[in-house]
Symmetry: C2
Subunit: 242 residues, 2 copies
């Protein structure tokens, strides 16, 4: 706060931008909206918006998330939402100086294409991250940073369960890792590792899921109370031959 009263300070516009991920059909998807006006009219962009006068960035991010996904407030309140970083390059918005606090969120595969509800976005859609090109502003950079962060977080936190419905099989959980990391994991080893981590998942007392797809029916699990993974679940040979 040095110089607080000495420098003339410039007012900035402050926004939040959200990189909302889900796993759908074996591919990592991100929620994008189509811009309805200049600049970048017609281009796809990350959802987001201005902070209201008495809102923190976290509050604004959760509000925007609820508006864009159409999820009920109660559900949104329980979702994993995390500050990524703040983007403040002077020319990131061609009209004026905008500082944006970026967030990352993980949601299970939603039944509807999202954003039919209260959102005032022109159009909203889940897009495979590989196909998200030509994003407005510096949103490609933000998306890249968010993608890296999510991949890294899977290694040493339990938040992969955030991509899963309330009850899931170990196969579904493994497919989250395989989808985000883009690598295949050994089934028995993954199972051993997850079950050996106390508090990561807990078995559902009821029966096993029956005629889901092909193959032997799998047991159902719920997310456990743990948040960190010790020791971590490292992705294979991530450029570093272990």
């Amino acid at each position: 706060m040095k110089g607080y009263d000495r420098y003339a300070y410039e007012p900035f516009a402050v926004t939040v931008d959200l990189a909302v991920f889900t796993v759908r059909g074996g591919a990592l998807h991100v929620l994008l909206i189509r811009r309805g006006q200049e600049p970048y009219e017609g281009a796809w962009a990350l959802p987001g918006g201005f902070l209201l006068p008495r809102e923190s960035a976290e509050t604004a991010a959760r509000r925007e998330l609820a508006e864009e996904t159409g999820l009920p407030e109660a559900v949104v309140a329980g979702l994993h939402l995390e500050q990524l970083r703040t983007y403040s390059e002077p020319d990131r918005d061609p009209r004026m100086r905008v500082v944006s606090v970026a967030f990352t969120a993980l949601v299970p595969d939603l039944p509807e294409p999202a954003a039919g509800g209260g959102g005032d976005a022109d159009q909203a859609r889940w897009v495979p991250v590989g196909e998200a090109a030509g994003l407005a502003f510096d949103h490609a950079l933000i998306l890249g940073d968010a993608r890296s962060r999510v991949g890294a977080k899977l290694e040493y936190t339990c938040l992969a369960t955030g991509f899963c419905p309330p009850e899931f099989t170990l196969g579904e959980l493994r497919s989250v890792y395989e989808t985000v990391w883009g690598t295949a994991l050994d089934r028995p080893n993954f199972r051993r590792k997850v079950l050996a981590t106390p508090g990561f998942v807990e078995a559902v007392p009821g029966a096993a899921r029956l005629t889901g797809g092909r193959g032997k029916p799998a047991a159902l699990y719920r997310a456990g109370p743990a948040t960190a993974l010790h020791p971590p679940l490292l992705r294979p040979t991530e450029g570093h031959p272990k």
Copy 2:
């Protein structure tokens, strides 16, 4: 950017705050300045200041760091500086709405008490983190977050060398870990681990340090090109008995 032209947006003041750490005499220290005016006049605070009109937060943070520490620009340009997170609670500053982007920096033990140079702070001082109480604004929260981050980063990155002078002994490096983590580490095991990680440190071709302190003279090392630690160097029993 949804609603960009729909909501009336409120202008905010944007600042950077810096948690600058160093290891000195077996204790983790943080750089604090004494506030010269209200609010919190006379209280200690993290160094920081407003973004200039065409500055990014990163640029502003590095500029403030140079001003506060009195280090030459060339040195500051090479220091490790990392965004921590953005603090945007509406009432974090009693006068007006201020959004602050917080950064963490690691510096070697500086010869001078710092901030005699170009800084316009009332007074600047290195303070052991344990004795930093009654900080202005939400700076105690920021300091706590920064401290956690630094501790965690030591586990899976090489940035402990950022606390060391250009050439250092393994004992000095180990003392960085012990100081930040507050735990004792086994000497031989630490040595084995560090030397087994390619690119973490590299031996200095010259001779060993001679009459430093007591004990057998130690070999000198430099920071290597690696930035990540695979596998990580986990702190002992960090609540999770491995």
